[in-house]
Amino acid sequence: MTQSLSVNFLTANLAKKLITLKLKNMAKKMTIALYTGSFDKLTATGVIINGAVADDLDVEIYVLLMGANAFKKENIGKTDHMAELADKKEEFIASLKQLKVSTWMEFFKQAKEMGNVKIYICGLAGKIWNGLVLEDFNELADDICGIGEYIASAQTADVNLFI
């Protein structure tokens, strides 16, 4: 009786330790629904994901409608569209240059180099901009996916953003 109790106690303790260990080793996750195709919001996203990577968060970015346009190969380096304060675009661009702020693509590249960042293009969004295969998009894109994957992943994320 005493023996079986102590065995039970040991097993319970071991299970508890294993669970704690698992929780400790599981990286936290940030998911982003990236709807925007505007370089100002993409720049902000770049800063955020670098901060997330510095904090050892895994990052999954799901690129939705307008975002997919910015990820098309032919749009690399373009700063045509600004979502906010569009009348101050020249001032904004000049300040970014003066402060040596990276471009949004440089930010995304750096985050991918330093951490676990995956970028998925929504299949529908891709089709809208005539991007049918992964090769139609810049090198940041990891795959084309459906909305179900974003919804499933967002439910297990510690932080979820819509940008």
Binding site: N50, G51, A54, D56, V101, M114
Partner: protein
């Protein structure tokens, strides 16, 4: 640690992130600390004002020891022990 104590520290690494904007100093610090051994000390130079709040919080969260900072003319020196 006070300024005198910080100035006497034996440094294992110095990262000059002056001239880079947020999140430059944080990313440079993360990169450098990744290459260090536990117990080693790093000095980070940053001219980004956000750094003074950002890096100490980050360092403590990551389990490092934040030793303090010195305000210089137009930039900060921050000290972290891995």
């Amino acid at each position: 640690m006070n300024t005198e104590e910080l100035k006497k520290l034996k440094l294992d690494k110095v990262v000059d992130a002056r001239g880079t904007a947020c999140p430059g100093p944080l990313m440079a610090t993360k990169k450098a600390i990744g290459e260090m051994k536990p117990g080693e000390i790093i000095e980070v130079l940053s001219s980004d004002p956000g750094t003074k709040r950002d890096i100490p919080k980050w360092a403590v969260k990551k389990g490092f020891e934040y030793l303090g900072d010195i305000l210089e003319d137009g930039y900060f020196r921050l000290y972290i022990k891995k």
